[in-house]
């Protein structure tokens, strides 16, 4: 291995930014895919896969993808919620890979929710 310079050090740090983000739990946007049994049956794995791929394609190092259990609305699965900065999470329903891409481009990247796919705004849990 070649010897590092100060610039190399900063580059390695930059590349590892995703790790930091994941372990510190702070990010620009957080995408939660609901992956209960119902969600998985309805294709939530595919949705998660798409989200992760999109994050990679766009070289995003400040977006977290995470999973959660059944949201209780099994007939509308697969579902996901997008939390942009400090605004309340928006739940999207009946997702497909295409819809995910659209939501990603608009909501995750630009912070503009996509009302036509959304179920509602807000979170029923505390905190």
């Amino acid at each position: 291995m070649t010897k590092l310079t100060v610039e190399d050090l900063k580059r390695i740090k930059g590349e590892a930014q995703r790790t930091v983000l994941l372990r510190e739990g702070t990010a620009r946007a957080k995408v939660t895919v609901f992956m209960g049994t119902c969600g998985i049956t309805a294709g939530a794995r595919e949705i998660m896969d798409e989200v992760l791929q999109l994050i990679m394609q766009h070289h995003l190092d400040d977006v977290i993808a995470t999973s959660s259990g059944c949201a209780g609305l099994c007939s509308k699965e697969p579902m996901m919620a997008v939390e942009y900065r400090f605004s309340p999470p928006v739940k999207y329903i009946d997702l497909t890979r295409e819809k995910v891409r659209e939501i990603f481009e608009s909501h995750v990247l630009k912070g503009e929710p996509v009302p036509e796919y959304a179920l509602g705004v807000g979170s029923e849990t505390m905190g």
């Binding site: 010897k3 900063k10 390695i12 740090k13 995703r18 957080k30 998660m48 992760l52």
Partner: protein, 597 residues
């Protein structure tokens, strides 16, 4: 770099490893592969989380959900539920003592809530065996800054502003120590990291080396630039195999990346580091004994002055700091001395790691701001005394620290206030004792430890401690006589005054402080031949209370000497002549019918 959704951080400090953390980690990996999640989820070994009582510990990020006391058979279920279906598993979470609802998030648990992590900032967060992880969390940026932007004087000035004092026990200002060594005309100069942690029940140095070895390297490299040293040693005891292994790995990685060796980061600065392994003598934590040990001689302290800064390793100027001191350095340089000094008290800045052990609900490793009270640690972070018993004393500073009574619970913990009440900061051991602990026996126990660990050179330390131990043992055995306490005090003061090194000078603290605060217990042993805590075997008798015994026979069955007799449903009787006072009956009796006086 692949995008992932979850990191499973498995604590692999020695505590969790002995509880089976490596098996847990392996099972996680297997289960995750079984479900085809290996692209999305990473399993990361980390250093000690500090909550060793409840190991093996696992943290799921970014959710911050904390699982504890995991068994291998829990893992498949946990992976299926949490990773696949996204349902956290409450039964594997931490439930506080005497409460019913589990707490999912690590940050909400009392034990972690009050802590402020500076030295331990990377614990449970990075993989200690991956240098990239360390760099990701701002690692080596302090070194880069000190090499490219700062002069040695500026580095020492920042350390001075930070108010950092030696974390190994004595609390000597680090900047002054560095300054003295820097000013020495001789060369080469050496740096040593003292990781010879010998206190029973203390494990902060081990934990730091296991969790964040690169921070030690970075701190030492910065110190080397400030002092003008080219070679350093990390002195670890052989009883810490995992720490030795991780430290060696870290040094290798840093060398490969050019962060150690010649021309570091292209700045022209050279620094080499190696691990020196000690044989585990308590006295080798003393600077001059440690130096002799590295030189290959018998680890026995020598007269100071000349101090190691003037004449140390192989007669050359040598600067020795404790592990915890070194790991604070990179952050002081990166964030500035004033940042560090913003926490703590007037005379003691920053945070301190304590290992909280004894009769307390949450044992483990905690890092708290200086100036926090004993009460906050014991009843806040520690969540009180085990089994709801009454607090009696806390010993600070390891085997040669003093025991503080209940009236001192609101004492702020810093170097100066601890010294003013006859104890010391030491390396940061906190041993909590409850009402069942006999303070004379505590003094006896620690005096025994120190009498065995004394190097033996000074007649007063060797013989004085041996005689103190003799008197203390006599008192515990009911053979104490009038005047023993006074003689004990006289001896203790002599040992403290006339011994050469820190071991002897502090060895009398347990005895002196227990006499000072628990004189009544000594008197009860000597005058009334009674042990108030019901601990000293020679001074207690077991009997069965008639009104409480229902004659179930549980005690009779467990008695190893067949000293208990009695018919079914009749009050049982203990034959005190054959009773060996083992206490088995007390544990077996469900009706509190066994009386110990």
């Amino acid at each position: 770099m692949k995008a992932q959704r979850t990191h499973i951080l498995v604590c692999t400090g020695t505590g969790c490893v002995s509880a089976g953390a490596f098996d847990i980690m392996e099972t996680f990996q297997k289960e995750i592969e079984k479900h085809g999640l290996q692209e999305e989820i990473d399993v990361v070994p980390t250093g000690c989380n500090g909550f060793c009582e409840n190991g093996p510990l696992v943290l799921f990020e970014p959710e911050g959900i904390f699982y504890q006391r995991l068994k291998v058979q829990d893992v498949p279920f946990l992976v299926e539920e949490h990773c696949l279906k996204g349902r956290p598993v409450p039964t594997l979470m931490y439930t506080p003592h005497r409460k019913k609802t589990p707490i999912p998030a690590m940050k909400d648990i009392e034990f972690f809530k009050y802590q402020k992590l500076v030295a331990l900032r990377n614990r449970g967060r990075i993989n200690p065996e991956k240098i990239e992880d360390y760099i990701a969390f701002d690692g080596y940026l302090g070194l880069a800054k000190s090499l490219t932007e700062m002069s040695p004087e500026q580095i020492i000035e920042q350390i001075r502003i930070s108010g950092l004092r030696g974390r190994g026990g004595a609390g000597f200002p680090t900047a002054r120590k560095w300054q003295v060594c820097k000013e020495q005309p001789n060369s080469p100069k050496y740096l040593i990291c003292n990781a010879d942690e010998g206190d029973p029940g203390a494990f902060m140095d081990r934990s730091v080396l296991e969790a964040d070895p690169h921070a030690v390297i970075e701190g030492m490299a910065i110190g080397a630039k400030a002092i003008g040293a080219e070679k350093g040693f990390v002195y670890v005891r052989m009883e810490y195999p995992l720490a030795v292994e991780r430290m060696k790995k870290a040094i290798k990685q840093a060398e490969d990346m050019g962060l150690l060796g010649d021309d570091i980061l292209g700045s022209g600065f050279n620094f080499k580091l190696s691990v020196a392994i000690g044989a585990g003598a308590f006295v080798c934590g003393e600077e001059s004994a440690l130096i002799r040990s590295i030189e290959g001689q018998v680890g026995r302290p020598r007269q100071r002055p000349p101090f190691p800064a003037q004449k140390g390793l192989w007669g050359k100027p040598t600067n020795i700091n404790n592990v915890e001191t070194w790991v604070n350095v990179p952050q002081i340089i990166r964030k500035g001395g004033a940042w560090f000094a913003s926490v703590g008290t007037e005379g003691s800045k920053g945070t301190k790691i304590f290992s909280l052990v004894g009769k307390i609900n949450n044992t483990g490793l905690v890092e708290v701001p200086m100036g926090i009270t004993v009460r906050e640690i014991v009843f806040g972070i520690g969540e009180g005394i085990l089994g709801g018993k009454k607090f009696k004393a806390v010993q600070t500073g390891g085997p040669s620290g003093g025991c503080l009574p209940e009236s001192m619970l609101d004492l702020p913990i810093d170097y100066d206030s601890l010294a003013s009440v006859g104890s010391m900061m030491g390396s940061g051991g906190l041993i909590v004792m409850d009402e069942d602990t006999c303070m004379v026996d505590v003094a006896r126990y620690f005096t025994n430890f120190l009498a065995g660990e004394s190097c033996g050179k000074c007649f007063t330390c060797r013989k004085g401690l041996e005689r103190m131990l003799e008197i203390l043992t006599n008192i515990c055995n009911g053979k104490g006589k009038e005047g023993d306490v006074e003689l004990l005090e006289e001896l203790a003061i002599m040992v403290k005054d006339t011994s050469m090194c820190g071991l002897g000078q502090t060895a009398a603290n347990p005895t002196l402080s227990t006499i000072r605060y628990f004189r009544d217990e000594y008197d009860a042993h000597i005058k009334e031949k009674r042990c108030p805590a019901g601990f000293c075997k020679e001074l207690i008798t077991y009997s069965i209370l008639e009104d409480k015994c229902i004659g179930c026979g549980a005690c009779k069955r467990v008695c190893p000497t067949d000293s208990i007799s009695g018919e079914k449903k009749q009050t049982h009787v203990i034959d005190t002549k054959t009773c060996i006072k083992c206490g088995a009956c007390v544990e077996a009796c469900k009706f509190d019918a066994i009386n110990v006086v």
